[in-house]
């Protein structure tokens, strides 16, 4: 029993944090609301992140969820305008079906494979070399797809309603969607951490009634409650990464728990952060809303709280044990 990351995993996290702090300030996120940020995929590819969980014969690092979960969290921390979730989810599927050429091109950032969310939308489907989808419990390609562009409340997301000829492949659908839900949960933890940081910093500098608002117990307790949810969501996410890597018999239950707690932590933290900020947080000019909107969308994408609670409920009510 050892519930911690390796030194190497933490170093990869730290390295990505350094590079993103430099390369992906909030202004870059804001710019991506106007113009999609194609360069960011390339930059991540250069750091090996798009190929992290591809096999070596597809140019990948052959690593697993425990290795990328902290990186996905980092992308949340900066609200990076890039679809890493889809890539982390589909990479092992591409390898499993032997699409190694395509996989290696995804790894270099030359190509992008879209994945239809369970809700029926696929991000950036117009730029995808292929669209994977799950239909009736099976994975497959959507060929000759028709795309209907939608507008998301998060301006960096470009969802399309997709439909097409379904061409089944031999891959595990639950594994695929579990990876996506896990990556989303990790991003949500990162988003939450940053929203809390913003609110804590603001509460120290903003003065009302002659003192910093962060000295008022009501504000303090809002922030502590958010911290508590984040602090407890994180181990659920990390455990799920281990369960994905080890293909634990209760993997899906663990992923669902991760998604539930991470979604709720992000929604709760967003609300409390906005409340602590007051009107400034309600402006487009201030950064908070970009994190908050990503939190709203990721918490309902890849299975929302109801969906994942229900999945755990089915396990528990049928006598499932996890201790």
């Amino acid at each position: 029993m050892r519930f911690s990351f390796t030194e190497e995993q933490r170093q990869m996290r730290d390295a990505l944090r350094s590079s993103l702090t430099e390369s992906c300030p909030s202004g870059r996120v804001r710019a991506a609301w106007k113009t999609p940020d194609a360069a960011l995929r390339t930059e991540l590819a250069e750091q090996g992140i798009l190929a992290i969980n591809l096999p070596e014969d597809a140019g990948g690092l052959g690593l697993g969820a425990q290795d990328w979960v902290l990186l996905a969290e980092e992308l949340g921390l900066v609200a990076a305008p890039v679809n890493l979730i889809e890539t982390l989810a589909t990479n092992p599927t591409l390898a499993a079906i032997g699409a190694l050429d395509l996989a290696s091109q995804v790894g270099t950032g030359a190509e992008y494979v879209a994945l239809e969310e369970p809700g029926g939308y696929a991000l950036d489907a117009d730029k995808a070399a292929g669209i994977l989808a799950v239909r009736d419990g099976r994975v497959g390609w959507l060929r000759d797809a028709t795309l209907v562009a939608q507008t998301s409340v998060d301006g960096t997301r470009r969802p399309f309603k997709v439909d097409g000829r379904f061409e089944a492949v031999d891959a595990d659908a639950t594994e695929l969607l579990d990876r996506a839900a896990l990556a989303a949960a990790a991003e949500l933890v990162g988003l939450s951490r940053r929203m809390l940081d913003l609110a804590v910093e603001y509460s120290k500098s903003r003065r009302q009634f002659g003192k910093p608002i962060g000295s008022f117990q009501a504000v303090q307790h809002h922030l502590v409650d958010a911290l508590q949810r984040i602090a407890f969501a994180a181990p659920a996410v990390y455990r799920a990464a281990w369960s994905v890597d080890t293909n634990h018999p209760n993997r899906s239950v663990h992923v669902s728990m991760a998604k539930v707690y991470a979604s709720e932590a992000a929604l709760f933290t967003g609300r409390k952060a906005l409340q602590v900020h007051g009107a400034i947080g309600y402006t487009f000019e201030y950064d908070l809303h970009m994190w908050m909107k990503r939190a709203w969308t990721l918490s309902s994408a890849w299975g929302d709280v109801r969906h994942h609670t229900d999945r755990v409920g089915q396990f528990v009510m049928s006598g499932g044990q996890d201790a």
């Binding site: 209907v148 998301s152 003065r207 709203w296 309902s300 929302d304």
Partner: protein, 382 residues
Amino acid sequence: MDLEFSDSEKRFRDDARAWLEANVPRTPLKSGDSREGFAEHVVWEKKLHAARWSVVSWPAKYGGRDASLVEWLIFEEEYYRSGAPIRVTQNGIFLLAPTIFEFGTEEQKERILPAMSSAERLWAQAWSEPEAGSDLASVRSHAERVEGGWKVYGQKTWTTRGAFCDGIYGLFRTDPNSERHKGLTYLLVDLNQPGVTVRPVERIDGDESFAEVFLDGAFVPDANVLGGVNQGWKVAMSTTSSERGLSLRSPGRFMKAADRLVDLYQRRPDPGLRDRVTRAWMDAQLYRLYTFQTVTRMIEGGEIGADSSLNKIFWSEMDIRLTETALELLGPDAELLGGSPHAVDDGDWMLDFEFALAGPIYAGTNEVQRNIVAGRVLDLPR
């Protein structure tokens, strides 16, 4: 106790409903918080006024119908029920007007109120400043005495629709040696004059309805002092009490929202959310009951007082619960904005949710409201 409406109240409702059904635009107007939409809304306001529905509770001489408080609530219910456009005049007619009725001179009433009810002149509130949000007494904007009036200096923020309105109202420090609540004066400032710069500020929902107003020597004639020099705090408290009380959010708004939520549930049922949808409907009904109780008390000579703070806490948090429930029903469709081909109800729920999130912040944060109730109602020590 008689919770039936009287025959005349029922007739009033029938009249309002009939007029609204015949006149409410069939195609929704553009957002009243955008410049283009604002103009469309002003046209609608003028139509309302022409039929004497713009300010039903005001005296007829100012454009009203001398309606009772109960009739006003009935009108509000019918107004929201009909799906009529939001009132871009609301910060004038609901927040400034009650103060003018209480503190204004006859000259002010006759000059300001008819132009307000007819949407000839639109008013924006200017309470907040960069250093004064919930802590209203820390305003720094000030006014210097000049011949026939005042010159005003400073910065006001979050003046909703300030970029489109004609005037603002707010507090200015008129006694430079004063502190906190003292030495403040309630002034009405014309925005169409030199010394005024208005910068629109985009909100998170994409509308540009916030504005920052920079004042650098704009002139305010003595006739636009409301309630006396250095009496501003008392006058403003009256306004914020109206603001928090009855008029800011009438029950009809939430009853309509709850009905829409029930309708959404029926189209996308999810048994796990059924109780929450039911509760949202119940909450809206409860808010209506509470309001009728308050109105009865007022009719019988009582006052709203600090109850308006309980009121504000209730409706603002109810609104968030209600809209959150809608988003959960929508699940992955929740994120789609209006204009998206697959958006449900044209994406209105997300906009409603975003607007609801502002509820616990504006008009005095809910933390401040709770402090007020703790001190004034429960008499808890500081």
